[in-house]
């Protein structure tokens, strides 16, 4: 375990002093693939129970697993996203236990020799800081089926659709010290798998779920006994489960008790964790290499080709946005939060002012999308349209203020900004003759104020600008107005 200095902000005050939470996570990410890890059955979500089950998945006698190359590729892509070692040689093992949703009586997994070794994930915290979280390994394994306990008063039904679907289990080091760090880690892993396209990362559908190992200790002291909270399936629940579990453990320890190593479940309705099984009840999984499968051997060229096809990853993209576009860390972080946002931004910023583009995307566009609950990939305002709007600000066709008005119309009608500007006659007046006429009018109507300005109250010039803008319906170019006003009143 790495030595991580204690951050005083993360400490929890107890009756007897401060406590520090120590956490490691196991994330189960369902591989995006059309077929299961070892069978040809479909993996589509939401199908009728037991409609996507092959003879292999059902564990019928004499059926044999055959590896789905696509799933292997996805694991490799993910490993690269986690900055991890790719093991050209890995082994599938059987994890043996009995349960009705496990038809073979064993889960095919990787135990001693996983496909992906050590890696690192950089998490970003709300105070703008970052932290490195170690990744111990990633391995491929089969998902189990689903037991349905609510279909019959006394019997349990089993749906095997999910049985055999490929999962990537991503195991972190125990490097996290707060609920925020844990959820930031899950968010980052979710972002990475979505970037590389290996998992859709939808926690609500269970395609990404986390087991959280929680223990508490005195700051920087000996590690405490850990409890594993199984299958937490939302960011909010992860934070709640950790906070609850840490408090529960602290209370026990402060009362002089000791923590039992056990597996617990988080109940989001009651906001508590409860015991699922103790260490004594833990299975002896009797892992051994699956004799139905040869060791998985990948060629370096194949792995290299995957690396070459990898998209730019979030950390690299963020660094580039900051370096090449001069964006703030905050803007860059916001823009790379998913690939679609980053792509959208890059399309807008292409050939335009990058900071102005970032402001429009993160403030106006994101504001609109959040209000309407529309995904950026489906945004009715296309990047080219937002770009055109920015072009009109740059070429002074409209002012920034008019641009906000145009944007509001775009949100309603999804029209091109040029069409809206033409239709509503919003084109900025830069014709000095026209502006001079308005300036002359305002000067003529306010001789006392002119005198004040000439007497030294230059601040009043702003009032004149406002009057001219008002009379021009906001279309006059404010810089031109200022210049003419100064000429006329102050003789500049």
């Amino acid at each position: 375990m790495r030595d991580i200095p204690t951050n005083p902000d993360n400490l929890i005050a107890g009756e007897t002093g401060d406590w520090e939470i120590v956490m490691g996570l196991e994330i189960h990410a369902q591989v995006s693939s059309n077929a299961k890890l070892f069978s040809g059955a479909s993996t589509e979500f939401g199908a009728d129970p037991n409609s996507q089950v092959s003879f292999v998945d059902a564990g019928l006698p004499g059926m044999l697993p055959t590896i789905n190359e696509r799933c292997v590729e996805q694991a490799v892509r993910t490993g690269m996203g986690l900055n991890a070692e790719i093991n050209l040689y890995s082994v599938f093992d059987r994890k043996n236990y009995f349960y009705p949703d496990l038809p073979q009586g064993y889960q095919i997994s990787q135990f001693k020799q996983p496909i992906v070794g050590r890696g690192t994930v950089t998490i970003e915290l709300s105070d703008g800081s970052t932290k490195e979280i170690g990744v111990e390994r990633l391995h491929l394994e089969q998902d189990a089926g689903k037991s349905l306990h609510d279909q019959h008063p006394s019997q349990t039904y089993v749906d095997l659709n999910r049985c055999g679907v490929a999962l990537m289990e991503i195991v972190s080091d125990p490097d996290m010290r707060s609920a925020e760090e844990a959820s930031a880690y899950v968010e980052k892993v979710q972002r990475i798998v979505r970037y590389v396209g290996s998992c859709d990362g939808v926690m609500a559908e269970g395609s990404l779920r986390a087991d959280v190992n929680v223990s508490v200790r005195r700051p920087g002291g000996e590690l405490g006994t850990r409890c594993e909270i199984k299958n937490v399936n939302s960011m909010r629940f992860i934070r709640q489960a950790i906070e609850h579990e840490a408090r529960r453990q602290i209370e026990i320890l402060e009362d002089g008790g000791k923590i039992d190593q056990e597996t617990r479940l988080y109940d989001p309705n009651k906001g508590v964790t409860r015991s699922m099984r103790s260490k004594e009840e833990a299975h002896d999984y009797r892992y051994f290499p699956d004799p139905d499968l040869l060791p998985l051997e990948m060629e370096q060229e194949w792995v290299d080709a995957i690396r070459a096809s990898l998209p730019e990853l979030p950390d690299a993209k963020k660094a580039r946005f900051m370096a090449d576009f001069g964006l703030s860390e905050y803007d860059a972080r916001t823009l790379v939060s998913d690939r679609d946002s980053a792509d959208y931004y890059e399309a807008v910023a292409s050939g335009r002012d990058p900071k102005l583009s970032a402001n429009w995307v993160t403030t106006d566009l994101f504001g609109y999308l959040n209000r309407t609950g529309i995904n950026i990939a489906e945004s009715p305002i296309k990047a080219a349209q937002l770009g055109q709007l920015i072009d009109r600000i740059i070429d002074k066709t409209i002012s920034g203020r008019i641009a906000k008005e145009v944007f509001e119309v775009m949100c309603e009608t999804h029209q091109d900004p040029d069409a809206i500007i033409a239709e509503k006659g919003l084109k900025q007046v830069t014709d000095e003759g026209a502006i001079t006429a308005v300036v002359d009018q305002v000067i003529a109507e306010n001789p006392d104020k002119v005198a004040d300005v000439q007497g030294g109250k230059e601040k009043l010039l702003g009032w004149f600008t406002g009057q001219v803008m008002k009379l021009s319906g906001g279309k006059a170019n404010p810089q031109a107005v200022n210049k003419i006003l100064r000429e006329k009143i102050l003789g500049d």
């Binding site: 006698p61 044999l64 043996n96 009995f98 009586g105 009797r286 051994f288 004799p291 139905d292």
Partner: protein, 495 residues
Amino acid sequence: MAMNSDLTGLTLAEARDALAKGETTSVELTEAYIAAVAAARPLNAFVTETPEKAIEMAKASDARRSAGTVGAMEGLPLGIKDLFCTKDVLSTASSHILDGFQPPYESTVTTNLWNAGAVMLGKLNMDEFAMGSSNETSYYGPVANPWRPEGDNRTFVPGGSSGGSASSVAAEIVVAATGTDTGGSIRQPASFTGIVGAKPTYGRCSRFGVVAFASSLDQAGPMTRTVRDAAIMMGSMVGFDPMDSTSVDMPVPDFESALTGDIRGLKIGIPAEYRIDGMPPEIEKLWQQGEAWLRDAGAEIVPISLPHTKYALPAYYIVAPAEASSNLARYDGMRFGLRVDGNDLTETYEKTRAEGFGAEVQRRIMIGTYVLSAGFYDAYYLKAQKVRTLIGQDFEQAFGQVDAILTPTAPSAAFAAGEKSGDPIAMYLNDVFTVPASMAGLPGMSVPAGLSDNGMPLGLQVLAPAFDEMTMFRVGGVLESAAAFSARPRKWWLA
């Protein structure tokens, strides 16, 4: 028109040629065998007879022949070991736990055989889940060896686990049969019943659709009356199968063409370590006779050493049960086969498996579970795997010096039913000569070579390098000719 007994007396190659010449039809041949099967029920060789299906397949075969399409096994009626899943036909592995199981799929090996034109007479009895060396562990009762010593009316075992296959071939109630061999389950019963049994290299035959016993060892193969028959039939069983990850994508040679009768210049290894303590003199004598036959045929006899041989059997009885304990976990009463309801899930599991599995299967599941358990894995399973590697290296070194190896197939002739069933260790020792090649994945065959002092058949085993079945058949063919084994069992079941 040939008489029925003449038809069932034909070897596979002879029947093939008779069909080709139009001297008989598949339907005629099949009818003769259906009658022979029915008459031989005292042998208990079949779990399921499929006469209607057989006639239907025979008719289709005759139609294909008329249309000019003739496969390598066209029209030949076979028995299929009940370890092979056959679509819509009861497939039990001779276990109570597979009660009523009719798979919705066909194994690759049987599919290959049907594609080659063969006809299925039914499913053959075996040791439960292929665990046994005497065919006494079947839920469907023991299989009788057609052979009995002169003047002895006791029932003798046919060997195992492919006992139904061996018995039915020896009794001439099938042209040939499929077997499977995990530690000797083709070769040892072949030796006990005076027939030929051949196991190809691991990976030659697809395991898809074959009920798994020990996945890293299981391999299907032919059980036939002659070496030529075995060569023909093996050619139709093997081949790359993408459905089996351990299947090997290699060209399949014409095995029958290996039977040149010429082994001049071949080097035949005689492994010193197979001369075990307490081996009956009749086995030793037969082995020396085999050596002499091959030398006379122009081969050079080379003494070799396979130093880790004595560890093969104990290592096998760790690896095979370990894999079996996991492979048999799927028989849980949830989806198919037997279910004995209990008050809760655990009790349902316990009752189903306690009733569904016989004593030998339970013993091996327990051994396998034990050797894989936390704290014992390194001492047993891991060590056994290391031994396995060493055994493979022994053979590799030996095959640097010799082209094939000659050994006895089994340390004894067939014994009387019940004689060893109370002593698992004595029973396991039956496989002492066959297990090493299984551990190394090598091809091996048993060829009938003589009779024991009490008139029971004895076989000699030929082992060859991986994927060199051609040499195995070549040597086996010469051995067969030299031995000229012509004894046949008295058909006491017809009396």
